[in-house]
């Protein structure tokens, strides 16, 4: 933006007279008042455009049930589709999503879950076979009927779009999962690996 500092009366005197000083102050104040807001907002807008954190998304996937495997993968694939650099850090039960064939075996338990689309009393939910039944119902009657992508499909979409998967080393050990049991293209890392990336991401989610 082209702006011009207002001209100041030329004076050769060593000390400015109070009148002139006052005039300079008034003019400078008026100038700053008029232009500063615009200058600052231009600078901020330019800086925000350059901010790399605007295009990074860091997600932690810590749950291993069918219902809770969806949010991290849906958000990750959507963000990647929007051109963001996305990393999902899989930890604890979330590692089950990354196990070879694991995505197909995720389940949802009806017990102590009052939010199921079809409410199942706890005393029924505790019976053997109820978890597979609820899982089947969720897959076929709810996700399936609405043509929601499967977890396997979402994992594939994420990979196609360049989402990075990191498996937590410590919880792999705790859960007794060997790196070779995981699907391909998974990096192994620790908390610091995630924090290092998340530090530069405006969007960070713990799921």
């Amino acid at each position: 933006m082209a702006t011009q500092i207002p001209s100041v009366p030329d004076t050769t005197a060593n000390a400015l007279s109070p009148d002139i000083e006052e005039m300079i102050r008034t003019r400078v104040d008026a100038f700053v008042h008029e232009h500063m807001q615009q200058l600052v907002s231009e600078q901020v807008a330019a800086a925000m455009k350059r901010d790399p954190a605007r295009s990074k998304v860091a997600i932690i996937a810590s749950k291993g049930t069918l219902d809770m495997a969806y949010p991290p993968l849906i958000l990750a694939s959507a963000a990647a589709a929007m051109g963001e650099e996305v990393t999902i850090f899989f930890t604890f039960y979330g590692l089950n999503i990354l196990k070879k064939g694991g995505a197909r075996h995720l389940q949802v338990a009806p017990i102590a879950n009052p939010a199921m689309p079809v409410s199942i009393p706890n005393i029924v939910g505790m019976l053997p076979g109820m978890t597979p039944l609820a899982t089947w119902m969720m897959k076929s009657q709810f996700f399936g009927k609405h043509q929601v992508a499967t977890i396997d499909e979402l994992l594939q979409q994420c990979r196609d779009l360049g989402v990075k998967f990191i498996a937590c080393q410590m919880t792999l050990d705790v859960m007794g999962i060997k790196p070779e049991e995981l699907i391909d293209d998974v990096e192994i890392g620790g908390a610091a690996t995630f924090i290092d990336f998340a530090n530069e991401a405006h969007v960070t989610l713990f799921i």
Partner: protein
């Protein structure tokens, strides 16, 4: 098919029946193969796509030229910038 003021469409992506996040994912994948200035028509039935496609265009800096709806089918016309 929805009618439009847009003359020539270079690619059509049919995401009818697909739900979140698939319309956006299919759009993004197809856009990669588009040259600058080319126009893509995305068809979708997921009502959420209305806001999602606008957000996608805003975020990626591409142009959402026109949106129309006919018989529950949304048609988005997007131009690669």
């Amino acid at each position: 098919m929805a009618t439009s003021q847009i003359g020539k469409v270079d690619t059509v992506v049919d995401a009818k029946g697909q739900v979140c996040p698939m319309p956006i994912v299919m759009l993004a994948k197809a856009f990669k193969d588009l040259a600058v200035g080319q126009i893509l028509m995305l068809l979708a039935t997921d009502a959420g796509a209305k806001k999602d496609v606008a957000a996608w265009a805003e975020k990626t800096g591409n142009l959402l030229l026109e949106t129309s709806e006919e018989g529950g089918v949304l048609a988005f016309y997007l131009q690669k910038v």
